[in-house]
Amino acid sequence: MNITDFLLMRHELLLTAMVLIMLLIQIFTSNDYNASYFAMALFFIITVFGFVPSEKGEIFGNMYITDSLRVLMKNILNIGVLIVLFQSGEWISKPHNEGKRYEFYLILISTLIGMNFMISAGDFLMFYLGLEIASIPLAALAAYDKYRTKSSEAGIKMILSAAFSSAVMLFGISLLYGTCGTLYFSEISPQINGNILQILAFVFFISGLAFKISLVPFHFWTPDVYEGAPTTVTSYYSVISKGAAVFIFIILLFTVFKNLISQWQPIIYLLAVLTMSVGNLFALRQQNLKRFLAFSSIAQAGFILLGIIGTEQTGMASVVYFVLIYIFSNLAAFGVVSVVSEKTSKETIEDYNGFYRTNPKLSLVLMLGLFSLAGIPPVAGFFGKFFLFSSVASAGYYWLLFIAAINATVSLYYYLLPVKAMFINKNDTPIEHIQSNPTAKTALIICVVGLLLTGFAGVLFDYITSLSFGI
């Protein structure tokens, strides 16, 4: 393996190196208190190194593909993971995590390696391998707070649904192999002619992937797992795991399945309407903030589908751009929820009554995050959502656009509920002033800067567009 190949796969290789280094450190140290700092430092270096410009290329005989778009996707995920790592400091330093701090980072980074392989996969075998690396350790993460029943429950639910969805997807892949006689994306793509077996294969495959993105009706695991898992892990699920799945989803739809466009467009249409509406309707009644954000993230996935249905270059650009913004918005919201729940173990919306009077800064961050999710200017979410809506309109689906816009209004109602609790509601015993951990603070600052800048950065969107492709 020469240096060019190394540069092509640097994301995966560096992450593997990081896992190995941390494994070694763990073996040779008795105290694991500094695990989080090691992880942050190493991962920060990797994130920076990820931005080194790289070539387009294939290795392992076309099983591994990389180009600027895929590198950009991985970098976006890296930024997200970096923020998650910064947020994790508070929770991981708690005494009940004593002795298993390194493992947390080992498992977390392993899943990221899997996701990177998924994104760079050039054939279904590689893709499936990446998917499994990404999903099995995720269940272990959900069950990390083993002293809490809910956390263990989340782990079980996660592993069962992951296994089930993998099985469904594998069935789809096998049918596809049956009809095409190959697993390579580039060879399958021209052979897809829309015969009934291929459509069946496609439906199974998409269902499996829809589990990962938690599209309705494959979303039932989401709220329970989100609520049960430690908040840090939940934020990892909601942005990184989902973001990676969305990236691979759009790449596959736009390359491998592009001949099935007339079949998948109505499917995506239906999924988008269902996901937005159901996610929104269920979010309306949630009291627990983590469940609330779970349903909100389902609804957001519905909005993301709007960009896919456009089937144009700008549509893909909008999706990538939106995921970046979504990472900042959701991590801002989860960051505050995580700080509060770690310090006070309060998680319901009611607990946040009068929060602004005691914690003005945290409230503002949460408000910006929620506004961005709701798509309100001047924060970035507005731009992200506007472009997704534009992609739908560009395909001429005006009624879908209308349904989406109405859904955005409905979502505004529940995004305003925590804002109302924090700013308007009175409370005799509000959450007292919280002094948050410096790394958690850094994470929130990164999110806020991201929220305020990414929206106005027209250059960034143009750059993403230049890398994207349509059908």
């Binding site: 005006y398 305003l416 109302k420 308007i424």
Partner: protein
């Protein structure tokens, strides 16, 4: 720096200044200074506009600037003004300036209050200077959302309900608007070539009629919700009644004008065929707004509700005039927006001041205030007279122009609705005079009120500035009307070209 962008930058600088303030006194002084500069700047814009025209600049928009923003979508930060937007900018400048002084004594979270208020006004200024649909929509949304916090935190009565209702209905309106705007955008290059959000460029092409017919309802209702179009007006009474004084002023005075302005500049200007064909349906809706609002105001006993319903009626008249599709009526619509903006701001300011003293807004619980609070009462009477259209004040000029314009339509349908709308003037007189009688005249009903003090300096300033503005429009409407008439020319050309 160009003079239009300053209108957005001054509020931002003021907000940054306020962030560093420590006490309530500092905050309000910074806010007052910032908004005074803003008022001068907006008056300067009008002056510069008139000078530019006098020098013979006949461009459709002047002071235009155009910077590319999102190249992919061809989104520009494109700004420029004509006579209509210049007038609206001056109105906004006056109302936000007086709004700061009307909320001089706000105690609770005063920093946040002024920041939200100024942010709101920034959105409005940005909206009026924009020539790009995207930028316009962005500023529109910026103007709407601070409302939620402003009403929710500093409001009174059932504020949480009102705040939520108002925000959701306006955002629902903007959802409709989004469909309309994107529809226009994706049909802005029928012959191929780059799509554009630029209003001036879109106005040069003809969008296919069947597309227009689909998009017009979305656009018109989307803006109409903000302009209190029946049956989407229900946020307005609750919202205005619960909002704190300055917010009611700004909302009724300026924010509702975004609706009328948008209906004229976007819906009618860019979709003229559909406007002509569908106007009958919408005339029915706006005509209902006019009459329903006026009748609603008669039945109310809460001062703010009375004026909120009266706003529904008056803003309905704006939309009504826009749908009449002729130059005189358009002119009347703009004049009515200016007149109503000033007058209603004065009303809500006075109601706030009276409420601050008597702690009730029920007209039956008060009486004889003329003897106790002579300054406020006289201002109230002037506002009332302007509202019912007394010659010499702004209301008369505006309504007269609208009705003359409306009557120029020869169809029976239009005439019937015009006559019905004219009848609202009588109803207006009823509810205005009824309030004046109950509130200001007669015996003092509550002896405790005898010790009340009349207006303080900042309250007087608010009242006087607004009254001067009302009187200027009322007594010297011609220069204003000329300024508007010139700018209506492109819209009229577009309309006549299709007939």
């Amino acid at each position: 720096m160009d003079i239009l962008s300053l209108l957005v930058i001054i509020p931002i600088l003021t907000i940054i200044g306020i962030v560093f303030c420590q006490t309530q006194k500092q905050t309000r002084i910074i806010a007052a200074i910032g908004m005074s500069i803003q008022l001068l700047q907006s008056l300067y814009v009008v002056w510069a506009y008139l000078k530019e025209r006098a020098l013979g600049n006949t461009a459709e928009m002047v002071f235009t600037k155009n910077y590319i923003w999102f190249e992919t979508w061809n989104i520009h930060y494109a700004i420029g003004i004509d006579g209509i937007s210049a007038a609206m900018i001056a109105l906004t400048g006056v109302v936000i300036f007086t709004g700061i002084f009307a909320s001089w004594n706000i105690k609770d979270l005063s920093k946040e209050f002024f920041i939200s208020l100024i942010l709101l006004s920034m959105g409005v200024f940005g909206f009026f200077i924009s020539l790009d649909l995207f930028t316009m929509f962005l500023f529109y949304e910026i103007a709407v959302i601070p409302m939620y916090l402003l009403i929710g935190i500093w409001g009174s009565g059932k504020k949480e309900y009102s705040a939520m209702k108002l925000t959701l209905m306006l955002m629902g309106g903007s959802a409709l608007l989004l469909v309309g705007l994107l529809g226009i955008y994706f049909h802005s290059a029928p012959g191929g070539g780059p799509l554009t959000f630029n209003i001036l460029e879109i106005s040069k092409i003809d969008i296919p009629v069947n597309v227009q017919l689909f998009l017009f309802p979305f656009t018109f209702i989307g803006f109409g919700v903000l302009g209190a179009l029946f049956p989407f007006h229900t946020w307005s009474p609750d919202g205005h009644a619960s909002a704190p004084t300055a917010v009611s002023m700004l909302h009724a005075g300026v924010l509702m004008k975004l609706g009328g302005y948008g209906c004229l500049r976007i819906a009618t200007f860019l979709l003229p065929d559909a406007a002509t064909e569908l106007s009958t349906i919408f005339i029915f809706m706006t005509g209902t707004s006019v009459i329903y609002g006026a009748l609603g105001a008669i039945m109310q006993t809460d001062l703010k509700y009375i004026n909120a319903y009266s706003s529904v009626s008056h803003c309905g008249l704006v939309l009504f005039a826009v749908l009449m599709l002729n130059k005189t009526a358009f002119n009347g619509a703009i004049l009515q927006m200016l007149s109503h903006g000033l007058m209603t701001a004065l009303f809500f300011a006075l109601i706030g001041m009276i409420y601050g003293r008597t702690h009730t807004r029920d007209v039956y619980k008060m009486g004889g205030l003329m003897k106790i609070l002579p300054f406020l009462s006289v201002c109230y009477v002037i506002a009332g007279l302007a509202s019912l259209g007394l010659p010499g004040l702004s209301g008369f000029v505006a309504e007269m122009t609208i009705f003359v314009g409306a009557f120029q339509n020869e169809s029976l349908y239009h005439r019937i609705f015009t006559i019905l709308a004219i009848s609202s003037i009588v109803v207006t007189a009823v509810y205005i005079l009824r309030v004046v009688g109950l509130l200001l005249l007669g015996p003092v009903k509550n002896k405790e009120y005898l010790s009340l003090k009349d207006a303080e300096w900042h309250e007087k300033l608010t009242g006087v500035v607004l009254i001067i503005a009302i009187a200027i429009i009322g007594m010297a409407p011609l220069w204003l009307s000329d300024m508007i008439m010139d700018s209506l020319e492109p819209i009229m050309q577009k309309l006549t070209s299709i007939k």
